[in-house]
Symmetry: C2
Subunit: 189 residues, 2 copies
């Protein structure tokens, strides 16, 4: 029997009160699709064995899992603002640098601009024909779900970005499941 | 004469109303330290020549610059919230995946937790002995400037994170200059 492809499961899910349960459910879903899921929280139990600071240890363990993974599924749902979690964006970049295919979902279906408008933080500046936030900072207007570096990375890595209308809930797994469908096609498992 | 090392200049500076001027100043500072600065905005002028969508073109051009760079200087100043710009975090991840040294600065000297407290978004949860935001989401309490994946990446890549007390202004360049000092030591230029 061949080894199942490994998927690194990135996202701010690890900050949820029920992070461990979400991790278990995600890994079970991976199993049911023929994959092995690598969930960041798995490492936390080993912290006390490590002869280094907890943050350095978690970083090292997560990076080791990312390097060990054949692909990633990334939760880009907005986190404490209009964009994805910074740690998750970092991991998407790392996966891209390592040339791994990535499949992503966001549980907020709006574009970055529409979301910023919805939060009352966008105004049209006629002088520059562009949308700006209250600090005058440009808001990208490409219809993308987030900053173009994130959304175009997915296109370049052969992946998808599922935009799910789920009020931005971090624990909704329909988009995650849709990513597993895409990963199954990609790996023909 | 040997070629000057190239530095990719990541950050949300590109969204400032005076982005082009900041880019020019940053590149001049690079020159004065013996480096060549690669600033993302440089590509925008070429957009109209490209037979692809502007966002896909900008992504491709920025990634090409990052791959061409010998190191990165990254502006991690909080952007529209308590954390770094998602696109910048992505680029830090990409630089890390490509094993480039990275030097970073933030123009907000506070830790992620203190910044979140300052914004009135942090409460201590006695049941779990942890700080939580209004949605019950964990706030990292390591004293780091941002999500541990970003801050530990810098340590792992041999770089620094300069925390500058500049009220979060995106265009303050003292931290950038301090990063150039570090890069000069690293490359012995």
């Amino acid at each position: 029997m061949t080894q199942r492809p490994k998927l690194y499961l990135a996202g701010p899910d690890v900050f949820l009160p029920n992070a461990a349960e979400i991790g278990r459910r995600k890994k079970e879903l991976c199993e049911s699709f023929g994959f092995e899921g690598l969930y960041p929280l798995d490492n936390e139990a080993m912290r006390s064995f490590a002869d280094e600071s907890p943050d350095a240890f978690i970083y090292r363990a997560n990076v080791a899992m990312i390097r060990d993974a054949d692909a990633g599924i990334v939760n880009l749902t907005p986190f404490r603002g209009v964009s994805a979690d910074a740690g998750t964006a970092f991991e998407l970049g790392l996966l891209t640098g390592l040339n791994r295919p990535v499949f992503a979902y966001s549980n907020d279906a709006d574009s970055l601009l529409d979301r910023t408008k919805r939060n009352g933080m966008a105004a049209f500046d006629a002088a520059t024909s562009s949308w700006r936030d209250p600090h005058g900072l440009l808001i990208e207007d490409f219809g993308n779900a987030d900053n173009l570096m994130l959304t175009e990375a997915l296109a370049a890595q052969g992946g998808v970005l599922m935009r799910i209308d789920a009020q931005g809930r971090l624990d909704e797994l329909a988009g995650f499941t849709a990513c597993l469908e895409e990963a199954r096609k990609y790996f023909s498992v």
